[in-house]
């Protein structure tokens, strides 16, 4: 095995939850409303997606078109105070931030950024735009970001929407390699976000 592949494999393994041996993918057909992440968040994709059987957290869910390295949508539905955005894998040394009481919409991008910096072990993470939006009828915040994992020359871009109701968080984020892939499938991800309600 080439060193780069080995290191890459280690990186991928480190940044994903420990996957059971029989992790699999299930087709999510287009144009049908579907409830995601074991909560009340519902979306209607305009393309066929694939849902991963492994949940990064109980209230999370991962979709992809053709591999999470190329495009990934992460859903979080109903996160409450004290819970983390990803699995708190190294709680002792590198605890993830938890959702706090009294969070405002402007706190969502900061919570997302801090969670990702720690989970991905990188300082190369920048929020590039924050604007008001709607998730269904509810107030939401839409934000764009870009990041690179340490030691990798690859830059990834992402866009996300988050909403809070009674202190409970609903979030959908899309990320892909910045070159080509991000733009290629952004519209399909945006369609999911535009259809979302809870």
């Amino acid at each position: 095995m080439k060193k780069r592949n080995l290191l890459l494999a280690a990186l991928v393994l480190a940044s994903l939850p420990a996957a059971p041996a029989l992790a699999g993918w299930k087709l999510v057909p287009h144009a049908k409303p579907i409830t995601v992440a074991k909560g009340t968040l519902t979306v209607t994709p305009d393309a066929d997606w694939n849902r991963w059987s492994v949940r990064p957290i109980k209230k999370g869910e991962v979709w992809t078109l053709d591999g999470t390295g190329l495009n990934e949508v992460y859903f979080v539905s109903g996160l409450i105070v004290g819970e983390t955005l990803y699995r708190d894998a190294d709680k002792k040394n590198r605890p993830l931030p938890t959702l706090t009481k009294g969070m405002a919409l402007t706190d969502i991008p900061e919570f997302f950024e801090s969670s990702n910096r720690i989970a991905l072990n990188t300082s190369l993470f920048t929020v590039t735009g924050v604007e008001p939006a709607k998730m269904g009828e509810r107030d939401a915040v839409k934000f764009n970001y870009e990041y690179a994992v340490e030691g990798s020359p690859l830059k990834r871009r992402g866009t996300a929407i988050g909403s809070l109701s009674g202190g409970v968080l609903y979030l959908i984020s899309y990320s892909a390699p910045a070159t080509h892939f991000y733009e290629q499938n952004r519209a399909k991800a945006e369609a999911i976000m535009a259809s979302a309600h809870y």
Binding site: K3, P97, G102, M103, P109, R117, I118, N121, E131, A148
Partner: protein, 399 residues
């Protein structure tokens, strides 16, 4: 077995990348003479002796090529020139010229020197060393590992003893996500650490620094670990060898040894290089601290801010403190944050984000009118802010 050796090389290459062509300068020889335990480096360029070592060399050089292309490397010429100047002061211009220096954007305390003369300095180190003498202490320490071929010696030992164990560890899920984690798989021996401490201190003394600063680096780390633990309500990890300090445990023994060596070889009392260090880092500290404050470690972050504030709480330090507390948002944190932003503004701060932070804090403190006034002031001062659309909405809503 070839596979084992190869995987071992990979780990070690990532960790240290041992370098051959060390030629001692007069200054370092002087230092070596003072530090009895410091071995004299080979005069001749080191030649890898077998297939495994040749592989290690190749992997090291490939690792450096990848590092060179990494987005993590900070290329600011002024910052690079400053750190290089400190390094050259220590090791002399001749050897300094052959060292490639990479300053990387990573908030951990770390520095390393590879077998091929590539030195890596983490931004988290530059945030933690409080003056030039302290930075010199760490650079001198790493250089001594390099000069003594410690990395190569470790490679040989590990290769004999525990290639299988290394292989298992390496294939374990999540063990190697970065240099710092790779480093936790292996560490220099206690003897090598003692050599590096004494060699580094001798270089410091010869270069005219106050050598008492060397032990302070580790004392500060211990205090920072205590601060982390106090806020998290856990036990301090300062006497544990795990995690990012696996290669360099900041033990009480190390602190005491360095303090004792400083008494024997004081260098130039009072020569800490504080002013030149502050001037060189001034522009970068806010960036490095921003990386730190997003790590969800309020204890350590607050400790580091207080350390930076030894010459007074400047507006950006007060801003940073406000951000720290506003983001944690537990107990009285928001009220404290509001106070820190206000102090920053009163101290003449002009950073637009002072008003952003205070405005957001005041909205949460149920002072909507004051909050909106602040947010509008932020937008006036920073009309192209990335979050202008969101903040404008918050500054205007329920009018």
């Amino acid at each position: 077995m070839a596979l084992l050796a190869r995987s071992l090389r990979i780990v070690l290459a990532a960790l240290l990348a041992i370098q051959p062509e060390l030629v001692e300068t007069a200054r370092a020889q002087e230092a070596a003479a003072q530090a009895a335990s410091l071995p004299v480096a080979d005069e001749e360029a080191y030649k890898p002796v077998d297939k495994d070592e040749r592989g290690l060399w190749m992997d090291t050089e490939e690792g450096e090529r990848q590092l060179k292309a990494s987005q993590q490397v900070i290329r600011d010429p002024a910052l690079n020139a400053y750190v290089r100047k400190v390094l050259c002061n220590l090791v002399g211009p001749g050897k300094c010229a052959s060292i490639r220096l990479y300053i990387v954007r990573t908030p951990d305390f770390n520095a390393s020197m590879a077998v091929n003369g590539a030195m890596v300095v983490y931004s988290g180190l530059l945030l933690r060393t409080q003056n030039e003498a302290q930075l010199a202490a760490v650079l001198g320490h790493e250089y001594t590992h390099f000069a003594g071929h410690h990395g190569l010696r470790m490679f040989r030992q590990v290769k004999e003893k525990s290639a299988a164990a290394a292989w298992l560890a390496f294939t374990g899920i999540g063990l190697i996500a970065s240099f710092s984690m790779a480093a936790s798989l292996f560490s220099y021996s206690r003897d090598m650490e003692r050599e590096a401490d004494s060699g580094g201190l001798a270089l410091m003394a010869a270069a005219g620094y106050d050598t008492r600063e060397a032990s302070k680096v580790w004392e500060q780390l211990r205090a920072e670990m205590d601060a982390t633990a106090a806020v998290r309500n856990t036990k301090s990890r300062k006497d544990k060898n795990g995690g990012i300090f696996a290669t360099h445990p900041p033990t009480a023994e190390r602190v005491a040894n360095l303090a004792q060596m400083a008494t024997a070889n004081p260098g130039v009392a009072g020569a800490t290089g504080l002013d030149s260090y502050s001037a060189a880092m001034g522009h970068w500290w806010p960036v490095f601290f921003d990386d730190q404050l997003k790590r969800n470690d309020l204890g350590a972050s607050d400790y580091l801010l207080a350390a930076l504030a030894q010459q007074g709480w400047s507006p950006w330090l007060l801003y940073a403190r406000g951000e720290l507390y506003r983001r944690r948002a537990l107990g009285n944190d928001i009220a404290d944050a509001e106070k820190f932003y206000s102090q920053g503004i009163e101290a003449g701060g002009e950073l637009p984000e002072l008003w952003r932070g205070r405005g957001l804090a005041r909205l949460k403190l149920e002072r909507p009118e004051d909050g909106k006034t602040d947010l509008n002031e932020y937008l006036r001062r920073s009309p192209d802010a990335v979050d202008k659309a969101m903040i404008a909405m918050m500054a205007g809503e329920t009018r």
